[in-house]
């Protein structure tokens, strides 16, 4: 049997999702045994040598024209494109600078003090803004179990399904006491699940790293947060932390 050709491409990110992937330890040899990694910028000596891919993972936000060109190239060659991690899906933490788009030159000078050869966009974009993406794997970092399941599904010839329920469901499943009950404001009710709720498990509020759930009840969440002493401005920052987008 010919093994499917899998590739990984890195845009602008912290590269943490790859290290998270290594934690799928006992499953990893099985997954690695059933695929052929033909392109992995971090490990292989000869990147970019292949002319077609079955599955292409793209991590990181698209933050300059080289990034944008590469994702377009990958889309042409790949059957399935997977946005790998919140930076690739939503812009993530790199997109925190997007609201200051107009001050790009000013803050560039502030950080670097001068002009440099590598040009960056004044905004960090989700991959979806540039090409069609077949699956969004959310999370900052991703969940290694989800990554293994997605690859398995694709190998079996079925399209994986993105979770369509909130983090609250994860807490209930794991028997974690609701943080609101302890007076801790939490983004669990409006955040896409799939993480297994590690933050609430250590009594830390969900901060929405998997991005907003499609049909979330924003009005009720805003009311709840207000009751817990969060003002509008703070709410705005909480909602936009991983997307860089303004929420109404």
């Amino acid at each position: 049997m010919v093994k499917p050709k899998v590739a990984f491409f890195g845009m602008t990110s912290c590269k943490g999702c790859y290290f998270q992937m290594l934690l799928a330890n006992e499953k990893l040899p099985h997954v690695l045994g059933s695929i052929d990694i033909v392109d992995f910028w971090m490990l292989n000596e000869k990147p970019g040598a292949c002319d077609s891919y079955d599955i292409a993972f793209i991590d990181g936000a698209v933050s300059n024209s080289e990034n944008a060109e590469l994702v377009r190239e990958v889309r042409k060659k790949a059957k399935y494109v997977i946005a790998f991690g919140t930076c690739a899906c939503l812009g993530g933490i790199p997109a925190l600078r997007n609201p200051d788009e107009k001050q790009h030159n000013a803050y560039h000078r502030l950080v670097y003090g001068r002009d440099i050869a590598i040009k960056s966009y004044p905004h960090a974009d989700p991959v979806r803004k540039h090409i069609k993406v077949d699956y969004q794997m959310y999370g900052c970092p991703i969940n290694e179990r989800e990554a293994v399941e997605v690859v398995r599904d694709l190998l079996l010839g079925k399209m994986p399904r993105e979770p369509d329920y909130p983090v609250c469901v994860e807490c209930k499943k794991a028997g974690i006491r609701c943080l609101f009950k302890d007076g801790v404001p939490c983004l669990g009710p409006v955040t896409t699940a799939g993480c297994g709720a590690p933050c609430p498990a250590s009594r830390t509020a969900c901060d929405g790293c998997r991005g907003p759930l499609g049909d979330a009840n924003w009005t009720e969440e805003a009311k709840l947060l207000k009751e817990h002493g969060i003002d509008r401005k703070k709410m705005q920052l909480m909602f936009s932390k991983y997307t860089g987008e303004k929420v109404k």
């Binding site: 890195g10 602008t12 990110s13 912290c14 590269k15 943490g16 999702c17 790859y18 290290f19 998270q20 290594l22 934690l23 330890n25 990893l28 040899p29 690695l32 990694i37 910028w41 971090m42 490990l43 292989n44 000596e45 990147p47 933050s63 300059n64 080289e66 990034n67 993530g92 933490i93 790199p94 925190l96 600078r97 200051d100 803050y107 560039h108 502030l110 950080v111 670097y112 003090g113 001068r114 002009d115 440099i116 050869a117 590598i118 960056s120 966009y121 900052c140 970092p141 590690p198 933050c199 498990a201 250590s202 009594r203 830390t204 901060d207 703070k234 920052l237 932390k241």
Partner: protein
């Protein structure tokens, strides 16, 4: 005859960087590194954000050193707004640093460095030819990440570690299971150290300045003045009096100098400066290795990483045993934001890391400067290339490229953090 080499995409390092070397006969005309990872502007992104959000943003600078970014950032915030922290919190943070140091070192040593010395192309080759080594790597990754998860709430980008305290603390059972895990890690670290001191490293040395945290009593990652190896010290808060940062056009990474010279940070400088304070088992291994301290062979950085893992396991066990009987107590700290400036330095797996912030009276960030170890090492990498090229140039191009790649890799560079990247452009 003029000749130039370019290594367009340096692999087995994190992030993207390239090398450019120009030779005129035996004379080095140019030996430069450029990081081409796009700019990430963290120092701008934290501005205007509340103090308690700063560590959450800063930890995303790097996926492999997220723990150290979290802890250093928190320490700098605490120094700025004057938060007093309990011994238990200090201990928990140290435990986090010990485990994450092992997690990062095993990733670098086994997945990136080992292929150079085991005669395989990459980690896939290790998986095929050296199953024993692969198993060791995966097991150490799992256990060390597990400890980080138990303390930090998540193995990557920890959430539990806050300004002033931990949201939840391990109970007595967990403390005891972590002792068992550190003991298991210690046996594995000793095996790793034996493997990495058995390797034949290229003969190359460059006597440059080494800098590392030199805590009075301990070989530590968490606290202490910066030592220069010759008995000189400076305080972390005075970092910008001694270290100078410069932006160069070709690179998104900044360059830094210590009193006008390039310098090295990382496991080798730490070992050179702190070797007397190693735990007895780590000291015995160092003695058996035949490595002469101080060592200025950049390649010994790999052996130093393996050796210090043994030491940090011992320290982990020691710290945890104090809590084996009584367990840890949940705590909270009331924090009132105020205006202030704070600087903190910790030892990341790849060298000293500085975080520096200013806050206004409302606790909003008005200034940030973050100096990552890879940025500090780039100048020294260039100095190494300057020194080694006249000797290397007698070799065929492919060999030159390979040797330079091994050299840069030995630093355990992380070009995604330093974007503030690696390719080789070689002109003969």
């Amino acid at each position: 005859m003029r000749k130039s080499y370019t290594l367009d995409c340096l692999t087995k390092v994190e992030g993207h960087a390239k090398l450019e070397v120009e030779m005129d006969g035996n004379t080095v005309k140019k030996a430069e590194i450029a990081v081409y990872e796009p700019s990430r502007y963290f120092e701008h992104m934290v501005r205007g954000k509340p103090y308690d959000l700063v560590p959450t943003i800063s930890q995303r600078i790097c996926g492999i050193c997220s723990v150290i970014h979290t802890v250093t950032s928190i320490k700098a915030v605490e120094n700025a707004i004057g938060v007093r922290v309990s011994q238990q919190t200090h201990d928990l943070r140290r435990l986090l640093l010990h485990a994450s140091n092992i997690h990062s070192h095993t990733a670098h040593l086994f997945f990136f460095a080992a292929p150079d010395y085991l005669g395989v192309d990459d980690v896939m080759g290790i998986a095929r030819k050296r199953r024993d080594v692969m198993k060791l790597a995966i097991d150490m990754q799992r256990i060390s990440a597990g400890i980080v998860k138990q303390i930090g709430g998540r193995s990557l980008h920890p959430v539990n570690c806050r300004v002033g305290y931990f949201n939840s603390v391990p109970d007595r059972n967990r403390v005891n299971s972590m002792i068992a895990e550190f003991k298991e890690l210690k046996k594995m670290s000793e095996k790793t150290a034996e493997l990495f001191i058995s390797f034949k490293y290229p003969e190359f040395e460059n006597k440059t300045q080494h800098l590392a945290i030199d805590e009075k009593k301990f070989y530590d990652l968490y606290e202490g003045d910066i030592g220069d190896g010759d008995g000189g010290h400076f305080r972390a808060v005075d970092y910008n009096k001694h270290l100078e940062e410069e932006t160069v056009y070709r690179s998104t990474a900044k360059y830094s100098k210590f009193d006008g010279k390039s310098y090295m940070v990382g496991a080798l400088p730490r070992l050179n400066i702190n070797h007397r304070k190693l735990s007895p088992s780590a000291k015995a291994l160092l003695k058996s290795s035949g490595i002469k301290i101080p060592s200025f062979s950049t390649f010994h950085n790999n052996a130093a990483q393996a050796l210090e893992m043994v030491h940090f396991c011992d320290r982990g066990i020691e710290t945890l045993e104090e809590y084996a009987e009584r367990g840890m107590k949940p705590e909270t700290v009331k924090i009132r934001p105020k205006a202030g400036e704070g600087i903190a330095a910790c030892e990341a797996p790849r060298g000293t890391l500085y975080h520096h912030y200013r806050f206004n009276a409302g606790g909003k960030t008005t200034y940030a400067n973050i100096m990552t170890p890879t940025c500090q090492n780039v100048g020294n990498m260039e100095s190494d290339m300057q020194k080694w090229m006249p000797e290397l140039i007698r070799q065929p191009d492919a060999k030159v490229k390979r040797s330079l790649e091994m050299l840069i890799r030995a630093y355990d560079p992380c070009f995604s953090c330093s974007t503030h990247f690696l390719e080789l452009r070689l002109k003969r």
